[in-house]
Symmetry: C2
Subunit: 186 residues, 2 copies
């Protein structure tokens, strides 16, 4: 039987990421999981309007996405709990910069993407939705298998909207591996 | 060492879902994984402009999100490969409707959300990005634990942008479980 749950966002899990931006010229990192893929190069990040990071994103028109491993769960949880206004979160990590020059990235995160802000959606929600174009992706050599990011090795921290963190499970197969079974049956 | 991968969207995995819409008065379902969470009630779905489903979303201003289990991988893969223009994908499932009346949902999927279209972003990408407000969420009774959707039981099909399907792994803990460890250390 179908039970009605009211409004309950089940479009989940999503990866938990550390969003980086320079605020007043200094790197700051904020943990978020309200994210989206819009196309191959386009992503969205949602943040509370009051977040310190938002200032930096608007100031520079750039930000970064840093993907922590499950082993970085303490720092990841921490960067979601404390504000950059009170704590220097940049000091937790070693930062580096790419071609955009103003989007700080975390060296300790195996995967980093530097992004250019292309749109801010501020009339849809109480929150701000930043749409960014990925300009460059970086990956630590040891997390690549045949030149591709190895997500089984990466072990990103998945987030479910009920407020829980999860691991990635096993690989089921690839796109197009399964549909022909149905064609044969019908 | 950080290796540059060009533009490589690693904001992944995301859940693979079946998007439902009535096209010419008949239910049609399309598989997508380029999705986003914008806030507690707001989501985004990206679809190729040429997709049959897009017509129905625009016609009715409504759509649904249906979350298949890993056991439904054949049907899920299939609905991403064949077009509703050529095949009656509605015939694969039993459809039901909620309060919006025009957003068909799949009874076989344990979780369903009916959504109202609130924005179409069509100038950002070669694709269309539909932003929807969740109006109601439904869940099969047997997938609820203490009144909440049990994602370990649901076993959604996760999608990684390299074109692969994955399972959800184990639960690591909940938001706020970890950050105090860092506070103690510092």
């Amino acid at each position: 039987m179908k039970i009605s749950l009211g409004v309950n966002n089940c479009l989940t899990p999503t990866p938990t990421i550390l969003c980086g931006a320079n605020v007043n010229g200094k790197p700051n990192y904020n943990t978020i999981a309200w994210i989206g893929i819009m196309d191959r190069a386009l992503i969205s990040l949602t943040m509370e309007r009051t977040h310190f990071t938002n200032q930096g994103i608007k100031e520079n028109g750039t930000f970064s996405v840093n993907i922590p491993t499950s082993e970085m769960i303490v720092e990841t949880d921490y960067c979601g709990y404390v504000s950059g206004e009170k704590v220097d979160k940049g000091a937790l990590f070693e930062s580096f910069y790419g071609t955009l020059e103003t989007a700080p990235m975390i060296r300790q995160c195996p995967v980093n993407m530097e992004c250019e802000l292309v749109r801010t959606l501020d009339d849809l929600s109480r929150h701000e939705v930043f749409v960014g174009k990925i300009r460059e992706t970086f990956c630590d050599e040891e997390y690549l298998t045949n030149g591709k990011v190895d997500f089984a090795r990466l072990q990103p921290i998945l987030y479910i909207t009920d407020g829980s963190y999860w691991r990635l499970g096993e690989r089921l197969g690839k796109l197009g591996d399964f549909w022909k079974q149905l064609k044969k049956e019908s």
